[in-house]
């Protein structure tokens, strides 16, 4: 831990995840954002160490600075103060062309090569009659294939961290070294998995995910219990740094009703929601200045 930085003492797990995502983003990068914690991460990066980051959104929005919480990838906020509003196929074509540095992904299942499933949990059934039908790829497959690198956010559970996923919606390193090259994917593949317990990175030679750091209060064994494959642990295992005071303050302004970093949408009344939109405009406009 860096001693010159003032870390927060009072913070939630979600706030730590937002900060961890923010730290994966460098200044001047072009980041294809998804909603929720990854998007908050990109905004925190923009407000701290990466002021020149360019957010892009699937609906065709490039470089927005939203003065309210993004409630979807086609929310009105996506076009706010943007440098370009265009179409979906154009944004994705820019990605395939190689202009996007970072993509953000999640899924219901992941394997050791970072392949993600967001299509269906077979659970004794099959693709045509799955136990749990999930929404599907959306833009995830395109991001996984074409973003220069991807950041993956996952819930840490043994049934989600699998030797093999039921369905590869979004390719990571497929069967290991050389797989992405075989298809000539434009993008480089996953660089990090951030879970609610730990951070994983990928071995350059084997392309396998290994344990890089554990969040405060979590042990390597705790994580191993929630991973189905024989997990390799970094000989230099770290503890994930907590969010800084500044980061926590920013997160609490960006997500004042704790929609992504707390109780979610349940119990959000129309009046509270209107008040949230109303007040966020002034607060965020000042913050982004």
């Amino acid at each position: 831990m860096d001693t010159k930085i003032t870390y927060a003492e009072d913070y939630t797990l979600q706030e730590l995840l937002v900060a961890a995502a923010a730290r994966e983003i460098k200044d001047r990068e072009v980041v294809f954002v998804g909603v929720g914690i990854p998007c908050l991460g990109a905004l925190v990066a923009k407000l701290t160490h990466a002021p020149n980051v360019i957010l892009t959104v699937e609906s065709g929005c490039i470089g927005p600075t939203p003065y309210r919480l993004m409630l979807g990838i086609g929310d009105n906020s996506c076009g706010e103060n943007a440098i370009c509003v265009t179409s979906l196929w154009r944004a994705f074509s820019d990605q395939q062309r190689g202009y996007f540095d970072v993509g953000m992904l999640g899924g219901a299942q992941i394997d050791k090569y970072g392949n993600l499933n967001s299509t269906a949990i077979f659970g004794g059934g099959n693709y045509d009659r799955p136990k749990t039908r999930l929404p599907g790829s959306g833009g995830a497959n395109d991001i996984a294939i074409s973003a220069k690198r991807t950041l993956i956010m996952m819930n840490q559970q043994r049934r989600r961290f699998l030797e093999k996923v039921d369905f590869v919606t979004s390719p990571g390193y497929l069967d290991g070294p050389g797989s992405r090259e075989k298809y000539g994917y434009p993008g480089g593949g996953p660089s990090v998995i951030i879970s609610n317990m730990a951070i994983f990175r990928f071995d350059e030679k084997t392309k396998e995910a290994y344990l890089y750091s554990v969040h405060p209060g979590v042990s390597a064994d705790d994580v191993r219990r929630e991973v189905s494959w024989d997990l390799k642990v970094s000989p230099d295992l770290k503890t994930t740094p907590p969010p800084t005071k500044e980061e926590v303050e920013i997160i609490r302004i960006l997500d004042s009703q704790k929609i992504y970093t707390g109780k979610g949408l349940k119990g959000l009344t129309f009046d509270n929601y209107m008040a949230m939109l109303d007040s966020s405009y002034e607060k965020l406009r000042t913050m982004f200045r």
Partner: protein, 309 residues
Amino acid sequence: MDTEDTKKSLDKRMSLQEAISRFVFDGCSIAFSGMGGMQVVAPTYEIVRQGQKNLTLMGDSPCECGDYLIGTGQIRRIEVAWLAFAVAGVSPSYRRAAEKGIPQKIEVFEFSNYTMGLRFLAGAMGLPFMSTKSLMGSSIEKYNPMIKVIDDPYTSQKVTLVPAATPDVAIVHVNRADRLGNAQYLSFSSNAENIARAAKRTIITCEEIIPEDEIKRTPMLTSVPQYVVDAVVELPYCCHPWNMPCAYAYDIPFHMEMMAAIETEEGFKKWLDEWAFGCKDHDDYCEKVGWSRLRKLTQVERKFYKSVL
């Protein structure tokens, strides 16, 4: 199906009921604009009311138009990238159909958002397919026979082909249009401009019908020209509870109430009894939501958008 050359008409204005009954027919393929917001909700309710059957839905990431029309048994096949309600939750009707065959088994052909966009682009260009680096090597490619991976004849590298999407009818919602069908967005447009062009029949719904002179004053905003369009319907608050840029904010508290209501099959039927069959048209729906609530969504939106006009 209507055979009149409606694209040449000099006044395409009509009611939503008329547009849907003239151009949406049993067994047709249909596409709706909107992605992650800007969903074409009011026409979806009208199709529920009119009951057209055996539909094929083509889309990137549909919400109500997918969930509702699967739940009513009106859709028999989907060609999509994703189907859910985004931040609000998953699609209960899609899950029931895929997992249990309720109310019926549907055929599912999956793509990704980009490749559905490319399918509409191919359709809009009058070409048979588009090539891409997406999909190859994934299970999406493995399970969908419509996707081909070939060796590129120029470089011998692998390349994915996706076929053109040319729906029988498209319903595309924009900020403003004139009576000829020249249609304008005031912000981003997802795949709308290509969905409009790819379809055989195109219904433009808009927040506001404006004079032709206003179109000619702002031609840089026109994304769909009149020769593409068969019908123009003025339909303010078409997307509610979803957002429409420069018009109204997302009514997410309403959406959460809806999600709770449609979770079960009975709840879903009750919801449609109330909001589709219980309203004779979209005006009736707006009345039921409450004009003051809708006005608040517009007022708050004005805070965030400076008019470009």
